[in-house]
Amino acid sequence: MDSDILVVDDSAAIRKILTRVLRQTGMAIQTIHEAGDGQEAMSVVAEHRIDLVLSDINMPKMDGLQLLASLKASAQWHDIPVVMITTEGGETKVAEAVRLGAAGYVRKPFTADQIKEKLVGILEPALPL
């Protein structure tokens, strides 16, 4: 079944780039939803069946780590894999994301291949990379 992916970033530019990159990967994606912060993302998750969340860390209102923690604390949504996409290459926030249950992370700047490599292993583990 094709996947629904939620892209969360306060930058509309990054949301556009990720949407384009996701379409270019050739993965079976049905719908790409967008949210500008963690609060919006929680609303989208409540309204749609989301198979994977790609989220920035630094965002206003509710940041990516708070979003991750909220999803993992939820009985309903704790199984949704969350991949962090961030400029935060330092150990502190990445370690925090891993501790909170992130399925992985990709550093900005990213290539389409890096995104595909990370997501294929999560969404389509049976497919060769």
Binding site: D10, S11, A12, A13, I14, K16, I17, R20, N58, M59, P60, T86, T87, E88, G89, G90, E91, T92, K108, P109, F110, T111
Partner: protein, 175 residues
């Protein structure tokens, strides 16, 4: 290598990586200068991002409106005939990636640092001034026929509030 050299080297590497990866373009670094803090006249687009932690400072990217539109077009693969929301957003994100990468490089030397959300200003004949007293490292880049300027200042935080994870909080900005 002192901290100033580390920052300049990291700025050059990070800007090159981001342009190569996100815009598919090569960037040539040019003149590097150290400037005192002062109110500088500006025209065009200036994007700022704050750095905080045991050291504090600001990174910025300055370019003409035409270069900002070109950045947007290359990054989003969409035409940008004038400076609009997409253009400002693209320049902000580009700055975020470059300064974010520099921040990551510096954390091994300075300890954990945080980034603010970028602010972008677009206008004519306006002045910007940092309230700090730190010197600014200016790196001019050539992007084909176009030019852009990336700057950064960084100084020890007089009121550090973060926990140091094995960092060296007494590291000095050697000249």
């Amino acid at each position: 290598m002192n901290l100033r050299e580390t920052i300049v080297e990291s700025l050059i590497r990070s800007a090159g990586d981001v342009f190569s990866t996100m815009l598919g373009s090569e960037l040539a670094s040019g003149e590097v200068t150290i400037e005192p803090t002062c109110a500088e006249p500006n025209d065009g687009v200036v994007s700022f991002i704050g750095i905080a932690g045991s050291w504090v400072g600001t990174g910025s990217l300055t370019c003409s409106p035409a270069v900002a539109c070109r950045i947007c077009a290359a990054m989003l693969m969409t035409e940008a005939p004038s400076v609009n929301e997409d253009v400002l957003d693209a320049v902000a994100e580009l700055t975020n990636m470059i300064i974010g990468s520099v921040k990551t490089d510096l954390e091994s030397q300075l300890g954990p640092l945080g980034l603010s959300i970028p602010t972008v200003v677009f206008g004519r004949n306006f002045r910007t001034r940092s309230a700090g007293t730190a010197e600014w490292m200016h790196v001019r880049f050539q992007w084909d026929e176009d030019e852009l300027l990336i700057k950064m200042c960084l100084a020890p935080n007089e009121k550090p509030h973060v926990v140091h994870h094995g960092a060296n909080p007494t590291c000095t900005l050697e000249v």
